[in-house]
Amino acid sequence: MTENLVLSLSSFAALISVAAVIVPLVDLARKAYRDFRGTSGTSKSHDRAQSTDVRS
C-alpha cells in the first residue's frame, strides 16, 4: 500500500516536472533547427543564384 503510494507520488511529480521542462526545450530545439535550416538553406539558394548568374 505504502509502496504504491510512494511510487504514484514520485511518478506524478517526475511526470509533471518533465512536462514543465519539455515545453521550453522543444521550443528551443525547434528554434535551433530552424536556425540550422535557415543557415544551410540560405547558402544553397545563394549557390543556386550564383550558378544561374554564371549560366547567363
Binding site: E3, V6, I16, S17, K31, D35
Partner: protein, 183 residues
C-alpha cells in the same frame, strides 16, 4: 550570420542546458550516492552478510533525495522572472519530493532509533545481576519477538527509496534545465 553578441543562439543554449544537467548528475547525484555505496562496500569487506537493502534501511537514500531535490530548487529560485509558471510547477514538484523524502527519512531513522533503544533495554535487563528470572524471561521473549518481527520490511524501504530517488533525479534535472534556460 551576424548574431547579437548579447543573445545566444538556440543551439548554444541547448548545449549549455545539457552541460548543466550532466554536471548536476555527475557531481550531485553520483557523489551523493557515494556514501551509500561505500557503506555497502565496507560492510561487505568486513565479511558481513549484508544486502543493499540493509544499508538503505536506515533512511540514508531518502536523506540523499532531500538534498538532491532541494539543491536544484535553490538554483531555480535564483533565476529571473521568465517562464514563472513552468518554474513554479517544476520547483513545486521538487519541493514536494523533498518534503516526502524528508518525512520518509525521519520516519525510518526514528524507527531504527526506537529499535535500538528497545534492544538496549532488553539487553540491560538480561545482563543485570539484580534482575529476577521472570524479568529475564520476559526480556528474552521480547527480544525474540523483536528479532522475528522487525519494525520495517527492508525490501519495501529499498524500493520506496529507489522510487523517491528516480522521481527526485528527474524532477531535479528538470529544475536545473529550467534554471539554465534563463541564466
Amino acid at each position: 550570420m551576424d548574431a547579437d553578441p548579447g543573445q545566444r543562439r538556440p543551439a548554444q543554449t541547448l548545449g549549455r542546458v545539457g552541460a548543466a544537467v550532466a554536471l548536476w548528475l555527475t557531481f550531485s547525484v553520483l557523489v551523493g550516492l557515494v556514501p551509500i555505496l561505500l557503506g555497502y562496500a565496507r560492510m561487505e569487506s568486513r565479511a558481513n552478510k549484508v544486502t543493499v537493502a540493509d544499508v538503505i534501511a536506515r533512511g540514508e537514500m531518502a536523506l540523499v533525495c532531500v538534498g538532491l531535490a532541494a539543491g536544484p530548487l535553490g538554483l531555480l529560485i535564483g533565476t529571473g522572472r521568465k517562464r514563472v509558471f513552468l518554474k513554479i510547477v517544476a520547483g513545486g514538484m521538487s519541493f514536494f519530493l523533498a518534503a516526502l523524502s524528508a518525512g520518509y527519512s525521519s520516519d525510518l531513522s526514528a524507527n531504527e532509533l526506537e529499535k535500538n533503544l528497545e534492544l538496549s533495554s532488553f539487553l540491560q535487563t538480561l545482563t543485570d545481576d539484580r534482575a529476577d528470572v521472570d524479568a529475564r524471561k520476559k526480556a528474552l521473549g521480547d527480544l525474540t519477538r523483536l528479532m522475528n518481527n522487525p519494525h520495517a520490511d527492508k525490501n519495501v524501504i529499498m524500493r520506496n527509496s529507489l522510487y523517491l530517488l528516480c522521481g527526485t533525479v528527474i524532477s531535479g534535472a528538470a529544475c536545473v534545465a529550467l534554471s539554465e534556460l534563463d541564466a
